[in-house]
Symmetry: C2
DNA sequence: GTCAATGGATTGTCCGGACAATCGGACTAC
DNA sequence: GTAGTCCGATTGTCCGGACAATCCATTGAC
């Protein structure tokens, strides 16, 4: 039952990473069934011609992803799963596209404004200093889905209205070399104002889903602050939380 | 400016963990300021009388937590922060208690029921098999905040109504030796039905925040499935998402 | 039959070293 | 002055080994 594992020492990709990828693929495609033991680390290392620390590093990365569980004195098992997917910093645009919803964006505003107290606090810039403000209406199949208002520090990337119409904000940021790391979110709900009702084609008082989010890059700097409003009848958040003990 | 670091080799707590805790404390209390270098790993190891792998393990755990950033050829820096807090699988009870809201619970039902198709799929048990169903009303300062309906597999823990009134479900699960690992959540909003309006002391049509959650333990088994309804005027979700690149 | 002691298996922790990859600044050439 | 090159510093990867801690099943005692 020992699955096919091998490493290419001439490849520039790290050995532990080659191994973890092969193991992940085996789990994904069902070759390694949930609950099955992985075989002890020593033998595995010997079979592959690797050292134990390297094998452990590969296994550890999958444990961190939640795909494997280690039990001292027992061995390493594949989790009973359903959990497979890693949690992602969800992008509304990508979500809609993945769901085949034909997302589109109408840019309502793209200007420089002085930072309000709230925005300044979120982005950690002086109050009153200039920041980008982008207001967008996100459509799916031509129907309005959400109203997005985002603030960004200046100098990080150039926000062309044309590009904002074509894709999502996160893709633009990644393309600009910003590595997104984490985000603090606050999700709530409230009734639509008359203006919002009209904007979304719903009646006044219709339930709306609201989100405020501050996104940080890998150095811990705030790179985006946004206030979003979604039609509750058309959208809900799906996400996964991990516990770090 | 080298800060005070030391390890106790006679302690049963792992050396790398002692070090990571001291570093985390130094970051938390501001001794290590955001953006400052940590000093190279070799010297750090020599100063502490540890090996480099041990020091690396300590640093790596903080990198995983998002407190440090490594840059090859540069060094290891403290992140520019605000992010400090680790993401937690939020417990409504703990959230309220931490906010000084005097949480209380009224158990409306605590019975065994046959699993519906939805519940069976979420918990990965046969449809129609018996599962626990717990219905609760969560109060803060005597005011109703949320209606919680949870399903749990049988045999995991004994759910005494008395205990459920005194604390949160997650605490009971942890106390029963279940190590929570991750959860899939879906958050939405809708208008209150007449019955819900009455239950919460709000009018019909008032916006409600809804959440469905399936929680998994460290072996990947589903240990809880719940449908919750919150008064949007009184509660919103705060959480943090991480990106795994 | 029940409970406690023993032992094998496996992961957890730690060491010391070696070389490669990458970054940033200093230096040089033009 | 500007661009390209070199070099030191630092982290990234990998090795091989040693012992401790823990789990599980078997064995043994009562």
């Amino acid at each position: 039952m020992s699955l096919q594992l091998s490493v290419d020492r001439s490849s520039p990709v790290p050995l532990y990473f080659q191994l973890s990828q092969q193991l992940e693929a085996a789990i994904e495609c069902g070759t390694l069934t949930p609950g099955s033991l992985l075989g002890n680390e020593i033998d595995l290392a010997a079979r592959l011609g690797l050292s134990r620390p390297t094998v452990r590093q590969a296994i550890q990365s999958l444990v961190d992803k939640g795909l494997l569980v280690r039990r001292r004195g027992v061995g390493t098992q594949v989790v009973h799963s359903q959990v497979k997917r890693p949690l992602e910093l969800s992008s509304l645009y990508d979500d809609l596209e993945a769901a085949g919803q034909c997302p589109a964006t109408r840019v309502l505003g793209n200007t420089l404004v002085p930072a309000s107290a709230e925005v300044a606090a979120a982005l950690d810039v002086p109050e009153g200093s200039e920041v980008h403000r982008v207001e967008r209406l996100r459509l799916a199949h031509g129907e309005p889905m959400a109203y997005l208002c985002n603030y960004l520090p200046t100098g990080l990337l150039d926000l062309e209205t044309e590009r904002l119409e074509a894709t999502g904000l996160y893709r633009l940021m990644r393309a600009a070399g910003i590595t997104l790391h984490s985000a603090r979110q606050s999700v709530g709900a409230r009734a639509a104002t008359p203006a919002e009702g009209e904007r979304f084609g719903e009646s006044e008082g219709a339930p709306l889903l609201t989100m405020q989010r501050t996104t940080f890059d890998d150095t811990g700097r705030a790179v985006e602050f946004g206030t979003h409003t979604y039609r509750a009848s058309r959208y809900s958040f799906e996400f996964q939380l991990l516990v770090r003990p």
